[in-house]
Each structure stands twice: as structure tokens, then as C-alpha cells.
Amino acid sequence: MKYLIAGHGGYAEGVVNTLKFFKDDLNNVDLLPYTSDFEEQLQAYLERHDPAEPLCMVTDLVGGSVNLEAMRQLRKRNFYLISGANISLLLEMLFSEVTEGAQIEEIVVAARDQMVYVNAMMGAQSE
């Protein structure tokens, strides 16, 4: 599975830097920096990508222009698209070597539990 990380500001660079902390080999992870010609860059990347290799694109914000543009591309091409991923989700996908949509869905559902309001969690435990 090839991963493409994209988002606003330095999201993609930041995410990749963080992932590197946990996994040295990120050869299957590409990033698209946020530039004013993002739509063209995304189009060019998707055109260059070998359709035989599954692609999972990860964006920062579901309603942001990065993800909305990815959704427009999704209408004409086949790839997986996740938005609002947390680091835990990305690590799980990288380490379990995901290859298909059903696996992704499972991991996304599980990763939602990784978004925690810790005070509430600890408060509940002290009861």
C-alpha cells in the first residue's frame, strides 16, 4: 500500500516526521506539500501513480479544501481516502501492512477511541 499524506500548512511534513520517529522505513509514504497549485499537483501525482499499487490518501480535515479536492478526484479514480486520521491510526495501518478497504474501515473505527478527553477518562476511573 502506498500512502499519500496531504493537508494544510505543514501537516504532511509534520505527520511524516512524527511517523519517522516510530518507523524508520517510510519508503511507501509520500507527501504533497500545501501549495497554491495543490489541485494540479494532486492530479499530477494521481496520474503518475501506478494503478496496480493500492493507494491510501490521508488528509487533515474532512471539510478542508485538501480533502474536498481529493474527494473530487475520488469520483474519477480508485484509491482509499481517509480524513482526520490520528497518529495511532496511521501507525496501525503502517505496521499491520493494510492492503484493502475493509481493513481500513476497521482501523478507522478503532482509532476513534484513540481520541480521548483524558480528564473524563481518569475521572471515571477514580469513581
Partner: protein
């Protein structure tokens, strides 16, 4: 009350929606765009971009005039978004109570001249801006309230 009419050829997207919603304490975002009003996919993705507590209405430009009329007199804080200067002009010609226009973002098109990193104007755009300036419409240029607002005037247009 109509807090702002903004031109953004991406219509609505996350970062912009959040900025303006909090700045104007928006109740409603009204997107006036013929294409969007007739395309389910576009309606869906615009819905993704809107902040949770804001109502989103999408209508064709002229069909939307009725909504604009109601909103002019309502206590709600409303942001109107159009996708082009052509549409902006339609709205401002129809509603003379609206005296300002913001250029929030227009991507490069053939024969476009760059105004700033988010805004490019074609010669038709420039002609519309001139007409609006002649009608004493204030044209601001900023993509978010965090940026200092700059005013577009005849000098600015001549330099393009």
C-alpha cells in the same frame, strides 16, 4: 443581517468557514451558485466544510435573491458566498443595500493577472471590479479575518 458578500471560487472550505464563522458569529452561510445548487456531490462536500453550529443554504444565484431579501431584514448573521465576480455583480446590482464585497479567493485562469497569492483576475473580472468601484462599492481583499484587509482601488487595478 448580511455581514459579508465574499467571492471564493472554491465556495466553501474548512479553513475559511471556521475563520469567518467565528469572526462574524455566523448563523447562516448562503452559497449562491448555479452549478452547486444543481449538483448533489457539490452540495454534499460543501456540507462537510461547514462548521457544526452553522446553517448552510445553497441556491442558484437568482433563485437565491428571495433568501437574500429575507436575510437582509433578519437578525441572523449571514455570510453570502458566490463563486465569481460575475455572480457577485448580479447580487450587488440587485441589492443596492449591499455596499461591500470581499475577494476571498479566485484561482488563476487563462489570461488571469495575479493580485495576490490567492487571487487572480481576468480582464472580465477587472472590468466588473471597475464598475463596482464606480458604484462606490468597497472591495476588500482578504481570505480570512486574520489577514489585514486591503482595499482594491483603481490604482490596484491599473497595476495588473
Amino acid at each position: 443581517m448580511i455581514r459579508q458578500v465574499s467571492v471564493d471560487d472554491r465556495l466553501l472550505h474548512g479553513q475559511v468557514a471556521f475563520y469567518w464563522t467565528s469572526y462574524y458569529n455566523l448563523d447562516t452561510i448562503l452559497v449562491l451558485n448555479d452549478e452547486a445548487a444543481n449538483d448533489e456531490f457539490t452540495k454534499m462536500i460543501l456540507g462537510l466544510a461547514k462548521p457544526r453550529e452553522v446553517r448552510l443554504q445553497i441556491a442558484e444565484v437568482e433563485a437565491g435573491f428571495e433568501i437574500v431579501q429575507k436575510q437582509l431584514e433578519s437578525p441572523e448573521n449571514v455570510l453570502i458566498i458566490v463563486g465569481s465576480l460575475f455572480d457577485a455583480n448580479q447580487v450587488l446590482e440587485h441589492f443596492h443595500q449591499l455596499k461591500t464585497l470581499n475577494l476571498g479567493g479566485l484561482r488563476m485562469r487563462p489570461n488571469g493577472k495575479i493580485l495576490n497569492e490567492r487571487t487572480a483576475l481576468t480582464s472580465e473580472d477587472i472590468a466588473i471590479c471597475r464598475r463596482l468601484l464606480e458604484r462606490k462599492i468597497t472591495i476588500t481583499v482578504r481570505h480570512s479575518p486574520e489577514v489585514t484587509e486591503s482595499l482594491l482601488n483603481e490604482n490596484g487595478l491599473k497595476q495588473l
